[in-house]
């Protein structure tokens, strides 16, 4: 089933939020499963999601 734009954006932002925690002092270790699930839902690779996230965020700058 095709995701709505709203849902897609939501998942992209969630993916970024989880992954960006890797840059913090205490990264979340149990996040891989969730990231994989999001990748599957979006049918996109890690790089593709990050690129899309960058684009979405840039619009808000």
């Amino acid at each position: 089933m095709k995701l709505s734009n709203k849902r897609r954006k939501e998942l992209i932002l969630e993916y970024f939020k989880i992954f960006s925690r890797e840059l913090e002092d205490e990264p979340v270790t149990d996040s891989i499963t969730r990231l994989d699930k999001i990748k599957k839902s979006l049918m996109a690779s890690h790089d593709e999601i990050l690129k899309e996230a960058e684009k979405v965020l840039e619009e808000q700058m």
């Binding site: 932002l13 992954f19 960006s20």
Partner: protein, 147 residues
């Protein structure tokens, strides 16, 4: 042009509106993450300031994520959550800008030419885009370092 700009500078075309007064036609070169790390290497104060700056950039980008998320949820700017996130975003944006200026000032103090502050001036969105660029560079590095 400073010698640091001649290094493998990170060309950021979309930051071309950094100084609207001068209406620059040339592409601006801002320090990339690698360049910043290389420049501060060996100077304890600068290393610490860069660390603080990158943490501020990350915090800011995460706030933009929250802001965008709320905006996406409510399709407008009316919710209480949106207002809270929006206010928080402003304050964190100020902190991030200050952290860039502090690092730049210290770099100049020790004889390194840093004109990030003058290039971006009062353009808050330029600072935002720079924070975004640095944060994504850090994320790319994590990815590259993973087996």
């Amino acid at each position: 042009m400073s010698p640091f700009h001649i290094l493998k500078g990170n060309e950021v075309e979309h930051l071309g509106d950094l100084n609207p007064e001068k209406n620059f036609q040339v592409k601006h070169l801002l320090f990339s993450l690698d360049e910043l790390e290389e420049l501060v290497k060996g100077d304890e104060i600068l290393e610490e300031l860069l660390e603080d700056m990158l943490a501020s950039c990350l915090r800011y980008v995460q706030t933009v994520v929250d802001f965008t998320y709320e905006l996406n949820q409510c399709d407008g700017a009316s919710s209480e959550e949106f207002r809270e996130v929006s206010e928080k975003r402003g304050a964190i944006h100020d902190t991030m800008i200050s952290s860039i200026r502090i690092l730049c000032r210290q770099m100049n103090k020790v004889g390194m030419e840093c004109d990030l502050s003058s290039q971006m001036g009062e353009n808050r969105s330029a600072y935002g885009r720079y924070a975004l660029m640095l944060t994504f560079s850090r994320l790319e590095k994590i990815n590259q370092n993973q087996p």
